[in-house]
């Protein structure tokens, strides 16, 4: 594999669709008109959103130095990664996407603490229920604190009369796994 490669059309579509669904808008489609998606060399097929002019920079880097002497470790905005050909959203996308999302839930202080410790959140209050009642099961949403700090991503699940948010990824990862997750 080269130091980087552009995503295939299918991969691009998958990233675009996944993120548009999370945002409940076509914001990612609009972003991709000006920017592009690449993978850089790595075990997890990380996906980065870069400027079109970055491509010529990366190509120059590849041609100037032997591959052994350097590597691109990160390029502007990491959105997530592919595992088994499926795109998963990453915590790195939060800064870019949090101002754009319409699908969101706000947690009180106690649930905020639980969520950033990596826990799932039981939907056991009217306030929480109201925030997600219009959303279907398996929907991925963005999770915020009650003072509007983006905390991460969760998926809505329900079984019989119980519903909960399954923690997909949260900002506590910066404390729990700084050395292994990035």
């Amino acid at each position: 594999m080269k130091l980087f490669k552009q995503l295939t059309k299918d991969e691009t579509n998958q990233v675009e669709t996944t993120i548009n669904q999370i945002l409940d808008s076509d914001a990612m489609t609009i972003i991709l008109k000006r920017k592009m998606l690449i993978k850089i060399k790595g075990d997890r097929n990380d996906v980065y959103l870069v400027l079109k002019e970055d491509i010529s920079l990366f190509e120059r880097l590849s041609s100037k130095l032997p591959e052994k002497s350097f590597s691109i470790e990160h390029a502007r905005i990491k959105l997530g990664f592919f595992i088994h050909e499926k795109f998963l959203i990453g915590i790195e996308s939060l800064t870019l996407l949090s101002p754009l999302t319409r699908k969101r839930i706000s947690l009180d202080t106690k649930n905020t603490q639980k969520f950033i410790y990596g826990k799932d959140i039981v939907i056991n209050t009217i306030s929480l229920q109201k925030q997600i009642e219009h959303l279907e099961e398996n929907t991925t949403i963005m999770v915020f604190s009650d003072n509007n700090i983006p905390l991460g991503y969760a998926k809505i699940f329900s079984k019989e009369k119980n519903a909960w948010l399954q923690n997909l990824v949260d900002i506590g990862i910066f404390l729990r796994s700084e050395k292994s997750a990035f």
Binding site: D54, L57, R60, L61, K64, L65, S69, F70, S71, I72, E73, H74, A75, R76, I77, K78, I91, E92, L94, T95, L96, T112, I116, S145, N147, I149, P150, L151, I171, G172, F174, L175, E178, K179, S180, A181, F182
Partner: protein, 308 residues
């Protein structure tokens, strides 16, 4: 013989460079416990908002006039476990770390190289000044230090940075001309407070010559890639002139027709030209800064070099 873990070899050197009274102040301040100082991330918040949010959780602060810093005076629980920290609304750092990136003053369309980027606090300050636009090429030689660099930049919401795992002496081989360069060079670290410095041993003195050579090579290589009218900020957290004033003196001598020193835009510390050296220092060194350790600050040196 030493004065509370500071080897006499250092004390005698500092007396010769800075005088007895300043050396006593250095020794006193190096021994002080450093309070936790936080600085807001302007990409995500501002001081009033940050203070309001953290005080509502029981934290208390004392404001520092310089650089929007806040001393944490009461922590009901560890501040790094707050959503505010984890979402990158502030960083924890010595105020001296702010001076090199803030001296560089990149614009939102600059191309900037940070040649020794990990752990990324200075890189994030560059991104703040650039409003997350333009391009920062963050170079880190040690692959072990890359995860912390990535994590910090992501947490702080930095969106304009490309991280390369590369030895900075190879930077010219990339053939990229940049507007600004931050070179916070590897150094002996003798200006660091003793609570975070395990290196202040007599043998470190033997390393100064080797480190100065390494720093010289890094400045030379960086200089090749700087555009005309571009600026390079050189800094070290060392109290040794060989890693500061003398380094810049030698550089001025070698590049006298192509470099001009610019003044550090902060009224802090003393001029590098006040340092006593074996021979009189170039008068341009009046524009450099020699910062001595004090509350919130490690000892360090910094200079801004502009390419004609």
């Amino acid at each position: 013989m030493s004065q509370n873990n500071i080897p006499m070899e250092f004390i005698e050197r500092w007396k010769s460079f800075y005088g007895k009274s300043q050396t006593e102040s250095i020794i006193h301040n190096l021994r002080q416990n450093e309070p936790r100082i936080i600085v807001p991330n302007l990409l995500k918040t501002n001081i009033p908002n940050l203070v309001l949010q953290l005080e509502s959780n029981g934290f208390k602060f004392k404001k520092i006039n310089e650089f929007n810093g806040l001393i944490v005076t009461f922590e009901p629980f560890n501040i790094v476990s707050t959503p505010e920290y984890l979402s990158g609304m502030f960083s924890i750092q010595a105020l001296s770390s702010l001076i090199p990136p803030l001296s560089l003053q990149p614009s939102s369309n600059s191309i900037v190289a940070d040649l020794t980027a990990s752990p990324g606090i200075k890189t994030s300050l560059l991104a703040q000044q650039m409003n997350n636009r333009g391009t920062i090429i963050a170079i880190e030689k040690s692959s072990k230090r890359i995860p912390a660099l990535k994590a910090n930049l992501i947490r702080m919401g930095v969106l304009n940075t490309i991280i390369l795992n590369l030895d900075s002496v190879l930077f010219p081989k990339l053939d990229i001309q940049v507007d600004h360069i931050l070179l916070d060079a590897p150094c002996s670290g003798t200006g660091l407070k003793l609570t975070k410095n395990k290196r202040l041993r007599p043998r470190i003195l033997n390393d100064i010559f080797r480190l100065a050579k390494q720093q010289e090579a890094l400045i030379e290589k960086a200089w090749e890639q700087l555009k005309p009218n571009g600026t390079l900020v050189y800094s070290t957290c060392s109290l040794e002139p060989e890693e500061g004033e003398v380094q810049i003196e030698n550089f001025l001598e070698l590049h006298k027709n192509e470099v001009v020193l610019l003044s550090i835009p902060f009224d802090i510390g003393s001029s590098g030209s006040n340092t006593n050296w074996k021979t009189p220092l170039n008068t341009q060194l009046v524009k450099t800064k020699r910062i001595f350790p004090k509350l919130g600050y490690d000892g360090f040196f910094t200079a801004i070099l502009k390419k004609r």
